[in-house]
Subunit: 273 residues, 2 copies
């Protein structure tokens, strides 16, 4: 775990700084890639959320919706935040993350103050094997041909439920579901910004149907529902429909106390099976 | 059903016209309100989607994510469409719907060509009573004190599954779920634009927990998955978590052939119970 005063890998990689001119910039980190130098969508969205919080009277992102305009690589980036309406409870803004080539992400953001208080209704977590019985990234990679050694797997530790890991040994379950314990590899505890990255960090659900390859995100919405407790999170990703070259992926994330703390849904392009 | 050459109520109310200066304008229709002169969020999003399609090389909305900046009433509106990236398969844009008071909706849009072809995986529709055994809006209103006579109920016909209609007679199920058959009241068949409105047209799920009142939408994402077949759609709305003054509502919509054709998720403010 990062020591006092030492930035975690995630906080360093998502840092947003203000320039003398008042603009916001970031240095996108090559270590958070999903292969081919392309950065993970959840990582990029966390950078945009940090910019939104910097320009907001409220401390936490609660709703984010991003259009992924093109594949984005490492290097310098600018963040242009256009405020929408702001009130006592929440504030809206529009954030555009651009690199030298132009806009990469266009994001609707809502910020507010998250708590961890009274729950009137909540979806309980699904069943999953204990962490020690789940497959590490190394164990996932060992079983499967042609799985690229992508950076995100070294930054976000996932332990995959054996029930959704049949694809690792060439026996995909046939159901587009992935379920895993998730935490930062350096032990940094989860927070709303971290949950944004967890919400796009599991292997593609199509791998469970034996359709390997990447499914580029078209639009991703993440809702943050509560401040997560320290420790492992449980994430489940599920496709509702795979058809005509498209799929959705629906994530739900529970913290170590079993509280639902984040939800996401993305539309992605489906690789041909 | 509207006759040849006659615009349906929905098409008339969501019409977007180009001005001589090249801008896009609409006349927001007072008939699509949810009470107090405030227009339905799904209706407003369909207007924004129409503007996105007008400025796109592609014919259908496939992903929309809107921040609701403030309550919006009837009257003239402008639509500013800023193109994002565009390719052979899909195009991104950012649409701002404004009235005389300023911006009301800020929307990320993705357009493409929807089909109704091959399905590799799909979520089957839930069980629901036949249309003739479900409760019409008049029957819903008859059973409950203080349900305002809102315009949207006269434009979008909903037939509520008795299993999720206990609140009508003061016996709420306790589970935040609504399930209904849905169609346009004038018989216009569903299409991707219509599905956008269906995706925010059911009574608030909190009514099933006996918590009446409106739940204002903060951010709404709608994904369109296929061209719907003619006839009734089946819509199910479900809250995943109700806590700390917030709730989400997750819609799934199937067409008359049982195909999943749309999904939505919104973050809303929860009225105190």
């Amino acid at each position: 775990m990062p020591q006092n005063g030492e930035l975690s890998a995630f906080d360093a990689a998502t840092a947003v700084r203000r320039t003398e001119g008042g603009g916001l910039i970031a240095d996108l980190d090559p270590g958070w890639d999903v292969g081919g130098g392309v950065l993970n969508g959840g990582y990029l969205l966390a950078v945009a959320a940090r910019a939104a919080v910097l320009e907001s009277p409220h401390p936490h992102p609660v709703a984010l919706a991003a259009s992924y305009l093109r594949a984005t690589g490492a290097g310098p980036a600018t963040l242009l935040v256009t405020p929408g309406s702001a009130g006592r409870t929440l504030a809206h803004a529009h954030v555009v993350l651009s690199d030298a080539g132009g806009p990469c992400l266009s994001v609707q953001t809502t910020t507010a103050a998250l708590g961890s208080g009274e729950v009137a209704w909540s979806t309980p977590p699904p069943g999953i094997a204990p962490v020690e019985e789940c497959l590490s990234a190394a164990e996932q990679a060992a079983g499967q041909v042609d799985m690229p050694d992508v950076g995100i797997r070294h930054r976000v530790e996932t332990r995959l439920d054996p029930a959704t890991a049949g694809w690792v040994t060439g026996r995909p379950s046939g159901e587009p579901v992935m379920r895993a314990w998730v935490r930062f590899a350096d032990g940094r505890d989860p927070d709303p910004l971290g949950l944004i990255t967890f919400a796009d960090a599991l292997p593609p659900t199509l791998w469970s149907m034996g359709r390997m390859g990447w499914a580029p995100t078209v639009q991703l919405q993440v809702l943050l529902r509560a401040l997560p407790a320290p420790g492992w999170c449980l994430a489940e990703a599920r496709a509702g429909e795979v058809a005509d070259g498209w799929l959705d992926e629906d994530y739900r994330i529970w913290d170590s106390t079993g509280r639902l703390v984040a939800q996401s849904r993305q539309l992605a392009r489906a690789p041909r099976g």
